[in-house]
Assembly symmetry: C2
Homo-oligomer: 353 residues x 2
Amino acid sequence: KTLRIGVIGGDGVGPVVLQAAQRVLEAVPGIPKPSFVPLQAGFEHFQKTGTALPRETVDALKSECTAAMFGAVSSPSHKVAGYSSPIVALRKEMDLYANVRPVKSVEGHDPRVVDMTIVRENTECLYVKQETIEDTATGRVARATRQISERASTRIGRMAFEIALAAAEVKKQRGGSYGWTGAPTVTIVHKSNVLSVTDGLFRESVRAVAKEYPTVEVNEQIVDSLVYRLFREPEKLSTLVCPNLYGDIVSDGAAALVGSLGLVPSVNVGDSFIMGEPVHGSAPDIADRVPSIANPLASIRSAALMLEFMGYVEPAAKIYDAVDESIRQGKVTPDLGGKLSTEEVTEVVRKQL
Amino acid sequence: KTLRIGVIGGDGVGPVVLQAAQRVLEAVPGIPKPSFVPLQAGFEHFQKTGTALPRETVDALKSECTAAMFGAVSSPSHKVAGYSSPIVALRKEMDLYANVRPVKSVEGHDPRVVDMTIVRENTECLYVKQETIEDTATGRVARATRQISERASTRIGRMAFEIALAAAEVKKQRGGSYGWTGAPTVTIVHKSNVLSVTDGLFRESVRAVAKEYPTVEVNEQIVDSLVYRLFREPEKLSTLVCPNLYGDIVSDGAAALVGSLGLVPSVNVGDSFIMGEPVHGSAPDIADRVPSIANPLASIRSAALMLEFMGYVEPAAKIYDAVDESIRQGKVTPDLGGKLSTEEVTEVVRKQL
Ligand SMILES: CC(C)[C@H](C(=O)O)[C@@H](O)C(=O)O
Ligand SMILES: CC(C)[C@H](C(=O)O)[C@@H](O)C(=O)O
């Protein structure tokens, strides 16, 4: 069995943090020796070639790769004709319908317990990008379509219940004083008090799946008050299932709870492909620093999450533990108050494996 | 000159917190003696009569009232045929196109400086409530329209620039060690990296207005990273201008920074009408407590905000100061760690006027 990982660095700090992830994947025991396929995408690539997501990248992922890692893309600060985000396109092209974002504090380091996973629908909502604009007597009027389907809501619901069960299992095993040890719970995030049809369908579809998971508790929260609760009582939240845009916003908010966007991993999951991706962006402000001070931990954790979803649970746990240990020891980049470079942090993690 | 205020208590704690606001309006010096017109709306009213927002309420507001106060509405936890949120309808009916939500910490009380105002577009975005659903071979597919117009974006932009200027003026006068004293700044909140047409139009329209305000600094932030920043460096944010749904989410998030949703006021502003409204909901969990422990401060501050937008700047400032003082003295309801009832807090505020 081989492990061929497509590596799409993208823009800014994307390539350097993915290099860190590769070095950790090379070092972790318990997986087939990985090989890496460098692939292109991003705004910089668009500027050079006129294409943000080249056909060859998608073809290579589909034909050659077991899984992939994605770095980051820059968003142009002004409208650029013909440019469209390659990560959004990639999620759709590969039908990576779930974006799974665990946000966890580190035991023995963070004062506040945070242990939640945001399960974000990854293919529809406003991300279908159907937009129109017209001239009217009172000026231009633009419209976008927000699509919510029973099919996409059902499959993301199922993913959320599976994750809630798995998370409860891990907690039962690890046990101890830290973290929530209660029953598995899924919180449906929606705004059906305003969007009764679209978010109504989302809620109803997830609730229909719930019947297959009688041991999982289901509750729900309107997205605005969920964001309020996120900051008031994060310890009470565990698995959240969200339509695409709410998931995007909620996960950035949750990242603020654990000290840095530079810590939060994600994985884009489909039925036949998996792509790890740090939640942070391309960080243009620090992208050109030599040596790099970009925090590699989100990317390293994303590699672990990718392994976990491929079934390599033990190797993934080893990486998580090594990352936690480097945080506890303060061997971190400046965004976390440390003094180390990207490469030095990566070395620390490798040594703890 | 008279002051006839429509009072729409709505559901849950709505009526009791509005009563607190009325008592403060009766006591504050410097305004014409107010009279109050009790009006109906809400989910409870819908359950009794089949109508959430009776025609008479809208007619009375338009024909009899100088301004209004709105309490809160309950959102049914399941789909209810024929029910639609009366507050959303009211904002549109009265063309109250701006929802202004100042979120401020209390000097000498809160450790963290928060002094921002969210200027939320109040009539369009996904709140146009144009939704459809159809059966397809793969299940139901629902769609909602998100509308962003040049006209609405321009007028909300103008409102934001005016507020930024006014806020800078207040800060210059109050000065001192507390709070931001720099140049007026407006931050445009959008997601044009995905919604290049709709949010592109929003951004472009606000930027076009900016030319009329050369002394105001303009910057922008993608909504997800804005929510991250909200919690990482709130002291750097001042006036935010947002499309409707982002404004809804961001303002609940900001409320978490100042200790309780029960503190955050808002005002719905149109060219010819003004309606104060606490940001919190109907709080069904405590609605039936006798004596009431609902925090009246958001409602009292909303009354002050209403006065401020009607030009009664000094009386409004008196109310703000009285509220701040009651917070500093810990004379507050249990949500803020105090022991007082709604009525007792209201008395404390009245005495400080
Ligand atoms: C870059 C952007 C298109 C993307 C998104 O909105 O999904 C990002 O914010 C994310 O969370 O992965
Ligand atoms: C009750 C609901 C319709 C409303 C909204 O979404 O505008 C509320 O959340 C608010 O912020 O005033």
